[in-house]
C-alpha cells in the first residue's frame, strides 16, 4: 500500500519535514516546486508510517485503501507524477 496526497493539499511542507524516507516531492527548492499544484507521495518509496497524515494541517493525506471516492483519481496521479519526473530526469541527463 501507500499513502496518497489529494487535491486539497495546500503545499504546507509539514509532511516533507516528518517523512522518514523522503518520499514526498517536490521539495522546497526543487525546480518543479513552485509550479507544482500540490505535493505527491512516491508509492514506490512510501513505508506507510502515517507520520505525514498526522502532520498535514488540512487532512489531505489518506491511506490508499481509505481514499474517499471523490479522490479516487489521486492514487494514479501520485504515481504518475513520479513516472513523469523520472522520465524528465532521464531526458535531461
Amino acid at each position: 500500500m501507500s499513502y496518497v496526497i489529494v487535491g486539497s493539499c495546500i503545499k504546507d511542507d509539514a509532511c516533507i519535514e516528518v517523512c522518514p524516507v523522503d518520499c514526498i516531492h517536490p521539495k522546497v527548492g526543487a525546480p518543479d516546486f513552485e509550479t507544482a499544484e500540490q505535493l505527491y507521495i512516491d508509492p514506490q518509496v512510501c513505508i506507510d508510517c502515517d507520520a505525514c497524515v498526522e502532520a498535514c494541517p488540512v487532512d489531505a493525506i489518506f491511506a490508499d485503501f481509505e481514499l474517499p471516492e471523490k479522490y479516487g483519481y489521486a492514487l494514479e496521479l501520485n504515481g504518475q507524477f513520479f513516472d513523469e519526473r523520472s522520465t524528465a530526469e532521464r531526458t535531461a541527463a
Binding site: G7, K11, D12, E34, T35, P57
Partner: protein, 471 residues
C-alpha cells in the same frame, strides 16, 4: 535592565500574517507578537476567500488558532492607518510586519466594465463567504446565462458556486444571504472564458477536475477548443508542467463526453477569447468577445494575440471578472506602483533609495504579489522572519519608545473599545459552530460587523450571558 524581548506587530491576520506569527514564535520564543486585523475576524482569505465547499482546506484554521493559544495576541477590528498609525506602531514595537495582502482586483479596461451586473469575481467571493463589507451587495441572478472571465481557481470557484444545487450549498458554510439568493438563481449556463489556450489555463487540475464531476452539471468543451496550436503543443511537450498536461488531458476528456439532456445546469469552457466590450442599457445584457491566437513573446512567454475576426456577442445577465488581485498602497509605507507590492528584499521593506527601512517588513501578497497557494505563505513567512531574526541578532533594530504591552493596550482601549481579542474570536467561532450544528451545517457565519462584535462581546460578559449570545 535593558529590555530584550522583541515586540512585533503583524498587520493583517490572513494566512501570510498567521504563518509569520507561527514562524516567529518558533524562531524567537521570547517574541511578543500582536496580530492586527481590520475585520472583526482573523484568517483573511482562509475565511473569506477559500470556497465554502472546500471545508477540508478551512481546517487550516485549527493550526492558526493554535498560534493564538501560544501567546500571540489578536487585535481584530483595528485598522492600521485609521485607528492606529504606522508611526504609532513604530513607537510601540521593535518591528512591524505588513501582511495586508492584495485587497482589490485588476480591471479589464474594456467599455461596459462598470455596468450593473458586471462584478469582480472577488466581490462575489467575499459576498458568498460572508465578508461583512460585502453583505449588502445585490447580485441579479435572474438571467439564464452568466459569463466568468478568467481561467484561474477563483474563476473555477465562482463557477461552482453558480452551479451547485441548494442541497450541496447547504452543506457548506456559505453565508446565509448568499444561500438564499442562489436558491432563487435562474442561471442555467455559465460560460468560462480563457484569454489563452487549454495548455495555459491557470486552473489547478484539482479544480478543473471538480468542474467535470459536479452532480447534475454538464461540462462542455467544444472539440475544436482543445486542438492545440503548434506553439502550445511544443511548449507542453518541452516545458509544460505536470498540471498543464493534466489540464489538457482533462479538457480532452470533457470534450469527448456526450451532452447530458438531464443536466440541471451547464458549464461551457471556452479558450482563446478575450472580452472586448460589455453591452447593455443600464445593465449587462451581453458581452462581445474576440478570438486570440497564441504567440511566443520576446521573453519566451506565451501570450494571447487578438485575431482580426469580428467579435462574437454572447447574451448574458451576469459577468464575473476574475483576472487577478492587486494590492493597494498603505499609508506612510513605501509602495512599488509598478509591481503593486511593498518594495522589499527578502522581506525587508526598502526606502525609495533602496535602503532597508529599519524595523519594517512585509510578507505574503503585499511582498511578492498575488501568487501561490496557502502553503506558499509558509516559505514566504520563513524568509521574512529569518530576515527579522537576523536583524534582531545583529542589534540592527531600535528599541521602541513605548515598549510596554500596557502602553499599546491603553492606546487601543481608548481608540477602539470594541477591539476583538483572541478570546472574542473564540466566542465568535464557538457561536458560529453552534449555529452550524443546529442547522447541520459546518458553520453558520455571522456576516455583519454588529453581529460579529456582539458575539465577541459575549466573551467579555458573565458566563450566564453567553447562552443568550449563542441563541
Amino acid at each position: 535592565m535593558a529590555r530584550t524581548r522583541p515586540r512585533v506587530a503583524i498587520v493583517g491576520a490572513g494566512p501570510a500574517g498567521a504563518f509569520a506569527a507561527a514562524c516567529l514564535l518558533r524562531a524567537r520564543g521570547d517574541a511578543e507578537i500582536d496580530l492586527f486585523e481590520r475585520l472583526p475576524t482573523p484568517w483573511g482569505l482562509l475565511r473569506a476567500g477559500v470556497a465554502p465547499d472546500h471545508q477540508e482546506i478551512k481546517r487550516l484554521q485549527d493550526a492558526f488558532d493554535r498560534t493564538l493559544k501560544r501567546g500571540c495576541r489578536l487585535f481584530a477590528n483595528v485598522e492600521v492607518g485609521v485607528d492606529v498609525s504606522h508611526s504609532e506602531l513604530m513607537r510601540h514595537y521593535t518591528a512591524v510586519i505588513y501582511a495586508t495582502g492584495a485587497q482589490t482586483d485588476k480591471s479589464l479596461g474594456i467599455p461596459g466594465e462598470d455596468l450593473l451586473g458586471s462584478w469582480a469575481a472577488t466581490e462575489f467571493v467575499a459576498w458568498y463567504n460572508g465578508h461583512p463589507d460585502y453583505r449588502e451587495l445585490q447580485f441579479d441572478l435572474s438571467a439564464q446565462r452568466a459569463v466568468v472571465i478568467g481561467n484561474g481557481n477563483v474563476a473555477a470557484d465562482v463557477t461552482r458556486m453558480l452551479t451547485l444545487s441548494d442541497a450541496e450549498l447547504k452543506r457548506t458554510d456559505m453565508a446565509g444571504h448568499a444561500l438564499e439568493a442562489l436558491r432563487e438563481s435562474a442561471i442555467r449556463e455559465v460560460i468560462v472564458l480563457g484569454r489563452r489556450g487549454p495548455a495555459q489555463a491557470a486552473f489547478t487540475s484539482a479544480e478543473l477536475r471538480e468542474l467535470g464531476h459536479l452532480d447534475g452539471v454538464d461540462v462542455r468543451v467544444e472539440s475544436g477548443e482543445i486542438e492545440l496550436d503548434g506553439v502550445s503543443q511544443q511548449w507542453l511537450d518541452e516545458e509544460g508542467t505536470f498540471t498543464a498536461r493534466k489540464n489538457v488531458e482533462l479538457l480532452r476528456e470533457f470534450a469527448g463526453r456526450q451532452a447530458r439532456r438531464d443536466a440541471r445546469r451547464r458549464i461551457e469552457l471556452r479558450f482563446l477569447c478575450s472580452p472586448v466590450k460589455i453591452r447593455g442599457a443600464g445593465r449587462v445584457e451581453a458581452i462581445d468577445v474576440r478570438r486570440n491566437e497564441i504567440v511566443r513573446a520576446d521573453d519566451g512567454s506565451l501570450r494571447a494575440r487578438a485575431l482580426d475576426d469580428e467579435p462574437e456577442t454572447i447574451e448574458c445577465g451576469l459577468v464575473l471578472r476574475s483576472v487577478g488581485y492587486r494590492a493597494v498602497p498603505l499609508p506612510h509605507v513605501p509602495f512599488d506602483e509598478r509591481h503593486f507590492v511593498l518594495p522589499n528584499e527578502r522581506g525587508r521593506v526598502l526606502t525609495p533609495e533602496g535602503q532597508p527601512l529599519r524595523g519594517v517588513y512585509a510578507v505574503g501578497w503585499i511582498k511578492r504579489g498575488p501568487t501561490g497557494i496557502l502553503g506558499t505563505n509558509k516559505r514566504d513567512a520563513e524568509e521574512t522572519v529569518s530576515s527579522l531574526v537576523e536583524d534582531l541578532h545583529a542589534a540592527a533594530l531600535t528599541q521602541p519608545a513605548a515598549p510596554d504591552r500596557e502602553q499599546i493596550d491603553a492606546l487601543l482601549a481608548e481608540r477602539k473599545p470594541d477591539v476583538v481579542s483572541a478570546e472574542g474570536w473564540r466566542a465568535i467561532d464557538g457561536d458560529e459552530l453552534a449555529r452550524g450544528r443546529r442547522k447541520q451545517r459546518p458553520r453558520v457565519k455571522l456576516a455583519s460587523r454588529s453581529e460579529l462584535l456582539a458575539a465577541a462581546a459575549g466573551s467579555r460578559s458573565a458566563a450566564g450571558s453567553m447562552d443568550s449570545a449563542i441563541t
